[in-house]
């Protein structure tokens, strides 16, 4: 399995955790369900239970303790999953305090994405970002660490900005600015990395062009990105 960008990797591990919980809990329920269905099927010559339903008899039975135990079990299970969810949520929602981050304004419109860079450069339907750069720490000035912070809004209707390859998403809403962030881990363009083709997509129905509202992702080396950024 190829390496994933940090946000996608974290998302994937939380997803796996949920899958494991779902398979165990759901599996147990299904096993019990099918066991009862087979075990208590009507057999030839079998007799009816003594409390079989009759018209007008509204019998009641059951065990409240079982409901309480089940509730406690589910609450404890959810407790674990929720803590993990909140941790990942905090990570995804709060961009790192990184002086070398690249800020990009993202404006969704019918039908495309406009990206506005700090120096005023604009690009439509092409998101160019620098790759992660481990040597560019907060003590080093004038470089891009690879952290990309997006300020997302819309020029017309409700859109939703998502990059599936990084597992990030935020709604692009007119009159509001929502933040998202990511770090790209692999240099590439759509021709070299197929997942970068049409990687940025709109995830909210926004009119007849909704299906065509996407942008390509281009992750450049620091030098290449600087060349493009300064040269335009």
């Amino acid at each position: 399995m190829p390496a994933l960008a940090p946000s996608a990797e974290q998302w994937q591990s939380l997803f796996t955790l949920y899958i494991i919980a779902a398979v165990i809990v759901g599996g147990a329920v299904f096993v019990m369900f099918f066991f009862f269905l087979v075990r208590y099927r009507r057999k030839p010559g079998g007799t009816e239970p003594t409390d079989a339903p009759r018209v007008g008899v509204m019998a009641d039975r059951g065990n409240p303790a079982l409901a309480a135990i089940l509730t406690a079990l589910l609450v404890s299970l959810f407790f674990g999953l929720t803590l993990n969810t909140f941790a990942l949520n905090a990570y995804l929602q709060n961009p790192p305090n990184d002086p070398n981050a690249l800020y990009i304004d993202v404006i969704g419109f019918q039908w495309g994405w406009r990206f506005v860079y700090p120096n005023g450069h604009e690009a439509i339907d092409e998101l160019r970002v620098p790759v992660i750069n481990g040597t560019c720490t907060s003590s080093v000035r004038g470089c891009w660490s690879g952290t990309v912070i997006l300020n997302i809004t819309s020029a017309d209707v409700f859109h939703s900005f998502g990059i599936a390859v990084f597992k990030i998403k935020r709604d692009a809403i007119p009159g509001r600015v929502n933040q998202a962030w990511f770090v790209a881990d692999k240099v590439g363009i759509p021709d070299t990395i197929p997942e970068y083709r049409e990687a940025v997509r709109c995830y909210e129905l926004c009119g007849t062009g909704h299906a065509l509202m996407f942008a390509d992702l281009l992750v450049l080396t620091g030098d290449n990105f600087r060349g493009w950024y300064n040269g335009r």
Binding site: W11, L14, F15, Y18, A21, A22, G26, V29, F30, F33, F36, L37, Y40, R42, K43, T47, P49, D51, A52, P53, R54, V55, G56, V57, M58, D60, R61, G62, N63, A67, L74, F78, T82, T85, L88, N89, L92, D156, F158, S160, G162, K167, I168, K169, R170, D171, I173, P174, G175, R176, N178, Q179, P194, R201, Y203, L205, G207, T208, H210, A211
Partner: protein
């Protein structure tokens, strides 16, 4: 010679069983229609870069598929069974208000026709997805008049559902047979109680959201185009309705599954009281989870985490119900006939949908899932898997009771097998497409989504074709099937104790009396109502023969031609509102004439259902049917006005954040004028109290004088209001001036509409007081109107400070 009798029966019936059949056939018709829409756009998505559909066609089909399936198919299919079986299951001879029941059906049909006709309104119908997100839903981005028509159709449908809800709640709480305590009610009836309560609280919220939308589209208000309101205002209002709606869709089918598990495993339901408690908890929680549809909108993180937790919590009651259903099977002798197979299938599919729902509750995982096919897969597993599959189980289960004939068991099992294969082929692969945006009309082959989509489409057609087997089976069996016994399954609810199909008044052997040992029948006690008075609106069918079937195919009691005319008038009027004045005038005229006819019919005391004196009415023993109905209606009105107040608060609190200066008190509105008008309206409340006092004392002159005074004050209030609006308009404070003017006109406008409706009812009341044999007989009606008028006054008491002083 043409035999008009059947036609007359089906057009003018007020018999709950006939109306149930009408609901059933109509909802299945819409099921086929919306299903064909789905197959059309699945065909489009089968292969990459398909050119079968144009994008606007695709969007219209996706939108109407969702709206029709949710609101015109699944809920009415549940309503069909509820109409037919809830009165029987509680041991009643009909609904509390048979004519209102017929009205609900015909308004439902009219709204459906309005919805379908919106396709041909020029420019096509709504194409913004069933969630109707703002501001795509505004005129600027979706100018087609068909969209507005769909909005009106939705409002009409909501009106039908709210009337039906009031009717069902009064019926279930007031018309139960002796010994039929609440806890003894079958699970299906319980499911319908919670469905009704959810509709009563959620649907008015949708009406208020739609009111703002239609006001924006038709009158140029600026709720969804201004930054104070905008997309998030719609989101909050819509999902406050939208999430409870999910449980409206689920509960009827899900409750049927429980009854089927019990019947076909030959064991009483396990932990029925806990199941009922869980349904209650889930219903309450369903109003606290709406923002999980808004995880990505950027609203406060702590709020989102709270909604994350409430969403997890709501899965707990459902998990308990699932376990209780499974435990019901223990020690049983399970018979796998078609209804049971569908019940087993429904529970299995619902478990999968419930598990994926836990994924969706995670605010972090939602960064990937939001707006993708994962979500589509999830909600089809719950609503179609848990809800519709359960309803289909109910259809096979009750088919012998409704038609008196058995369906083909072999074809039923074949249907089930293909249904399950098709279903899972259709919806399971959607979970693998958690990168693919939903509602896109095409995708490129390079995305790699092609093969899975082809699989989904194949599953879709398999699923669709399986329904043909059901239709063929049921259509053939309804005419040719072997005769059905009155209790082919060994069921426990009362419908299995009476003939198949049931006679007109349900219980030919007399009043059912429930005790721990079962049901017995005894002759009816002469019916009493109105808190001890003799049945005021004396009818003919109220005596000891009340529970005996009439020889006539449909008795006079079960007949009124006004409901269908009212519905037709309302439908034509709304159509005309958008399409042209002649139709508007025609529709309004028909509506007005029909309402007068309805009122005259009421004055003659027809269509009253006798209340069984010894029946169970707890906890509403002391209320009359009509006043309980009015109280329930007021409860729904609170949700309606409450949501509008919520919209006001949202706009008001957002205005400083968006740099909009809300007009200061007195800047636009004349406080003295408004205050004076407030006093006028409150005085009319006082004269209404006098009216009630005089009515109880039997003073005809006092009653008439107070009613006239109430009418005069109410009319004066409206005249004042008209002058006020006129002056505001002259001063340049119009519908589209700002969000402040928009909310002012909508709030005072809908309140004014309530006043006008009240004045109309007052005219009826004055005629009734004039014609009543004794004034005391009119006091019941005066009291009911008093409840309504009090509500209208109370709303204004909130509105005045909100609009004039804040």
């Amino acid at each position: 010679m043409v035999d008009w009798k059947p036609l007359k029966r089906w057009l003018f019936t007020t018999n709950h069983k006939d109306i149930g059949i009408l609901y059933l056939l109509t909802s299945l018709y819409f099921f086929v229609t919306a299903g064909l829409f789905a197959l059309t756009f699945r065909f489009q998505l089968a292969v990459p870069s398909n050119t079968f559909l144009q994008p606007d066609e695709y969007n219209q089909l996706v939108t109407t598929h969702g709206l029709l399936m949710l609101l015109w198919v699944i809920t009415p299919l549940g309503a069909a069974f509820a109409n037919y079986f809830v009165p029987i299951q509680i041991g009643a001879r009909d609904m509390a208000f048979p004519r209102l029941n017929a009205l609900s059906y015909w308004v439902y049909l009219a709204s459906g026709m309005l919805a379908l006709s919106s396709f041909f309104a020029g420019g096509g119908t709504a194409d913004w997805g069933w969630t109707t997100y703002a501001p795509l839903n505004t005129v600027e981005f979706s100018p087609a008049v068909g969209g507005s028509m769909m909005g009106l159709a939705l409002m009409l449908l909501m009106a039908s559902s709210i009337v039906s809800t009031v009717n069902f709640l009064v019926t279930i709480f007031r018309l139960r047979a002796p010994g039929m305590s609440l806890v003894r009610l079958p699970l299906f009836t319980w499911g319908w109680i919670f469905t009704s309560l959810l509709m009563l609280w959620a649907f008015p919220a949708f009406v208020s959201a739609l009111s703002l939308l239609v006001a924006d589209r038709a009158f140029g208000t600026v709720f969804f185009t201004s930054t104070q309101g905008g997309p998030l205002l719609w989101d909050h209002m819509f999902w406050f309705f939208g999430h409870p709606e999910v449980y409206v869709l689920l509960l009827p089918g899900f409750a049927i599954v429980g009854d089927l598990f019990s019947t076909f495993s030959r064991r009483p339901l396990y932990a029925k009281k806990i199941i009922i408690a869980c349904l209650a908890i889930a219903s309450i929680l369903s109003f606290t989870v709406w923002a999980h549809h808004m995880f990505m909108t950027g609203i406060s993180q702590s709020l989102l985490e709270a909604f994350n937790v409430t969403t997890e919590l709501i899965s707990i009651p459902f998990a308990i119900i699932v376990i209780a259903y499974i435990f019901t099977l223990r020690g049983g002798s399970i018979r796998f006939t078609t209804p049971m197979l569908f019940a087993v299938g429904a529970l299995g599919l619902f478990i999968i949908g419930g598990v994926t729902g836990v994924f969706n509750s995670s605010v972090a995982l939602d960064t990937a899932f939001r707006g993708t096919f994962w979500v589509v897969g999830h909600f089809h597993y719950t609503i179609v898997g848990g809800g519709l599959t359960g309803l289909f189980g109910g259809l096979y289960y009750w088919f012998p009771k409704i038609t008196g004939r058995m369906y083909s068991e072999r074809l039923g099992k074949i249907h089930f097998a293909i249904y399950m294969v098709g279903f899972n082929l259709l919806y399971f692969p959607m979970h693998l497409l958690y990168d693919m945006p939903r509602r896109i009309f095409k995708y490129d082959a390079s995305t790699g989504w092609g093969p899975i989509n082809l699989l989904i489409t194949i599953g879709g057609f398999t699923f669709g074709i399986s329904q043909l087997i059901m239709f063929a089976n049921l259509l053939w069996s309804a005419r040719r099937g072997p005769a059905a016994d009155k209790d082919p399954w060994g069921g426990y609810s009362l419908e299995w104790g009476i003939p198949s199909p049931p006679p007109e008044f349900n219980f030919p052997e007399g009043v059912p009396v429930i005790s721990a040992s079962g049901v017995t029948f005894r002759p009816s006690t002469p019916a009493m109502a109105n808190g001890g008075q003799a049945m005021a609106d004396g009818g003919h069918a109220n005596g000891g023969h009340a529970y005996v079937s009439h020889e006539d195919e449909f008795g006079e009691e079960h007949w009124s031609h006004w409901p269908i005319v009212v519905a037709a008038g309302a439908g034509i009027a709304l159509w005309g509102l958008l399409m042209g004045l002649p139709a508007l005038f025609l529709g309004t005229g028909v509506l007005a004439a029909a309402l007068v006819g309805w009122g005259r019919e009421s004055l003659r005391g027809r269509s009253e259902v006798p209340v069984e004196a010894t029946g169970e009415k707890w906890p509403f023993d002391r209320l009359e049917n009509l006043s309980l109905g009015m109280w329930i209606f007021v409860f729904g009105e609170i949700a309606f006005f409450g949501t509008l107040f919520g919209a006001f608060v949202f706009l008001r609190m957002n205005s400083p954040l968006t740099g909009f200066v809300w007009p200061r008190p007195g800047e636009v509105h004349n406080i003295f004028w408004g205050g004076f008008n407030t006093i006028v309206l409150l005085t009319s409340g006082l004269t209404m109290v006098f009216a009630l006092t005089f009515a109880r004392r039997g003073s005809y002159r006092g009653l008439q004088a107070s009613l006239v005074a109430t009418f005069a004050l109410g009319a004066f209030f409206m005249v004042n209001k008209a002058f006020e609006w006129n002056e505001l308009f002259t001063n340049g404070f119009t519908f589209s001036t700002s969000s402040a003017s928009s909310i002012y006109y909508v709030l005072s406008g809908v309140h004014g509409a309530h006043v006008v409706a009240g004045l109309t009812a007052l005219v009826y009341l004055m005629v009734k007081a004039l014609k009543a044999g004794s004034v005391k007989q009119a006091s019941g009606a005066v009291e009911i109107f008093g409840i309504y008028w009090g509500m209208v006054d109370a709303v204004w008491v909130f509105l005045f400070p909100l609009l004039y002083l804040l």
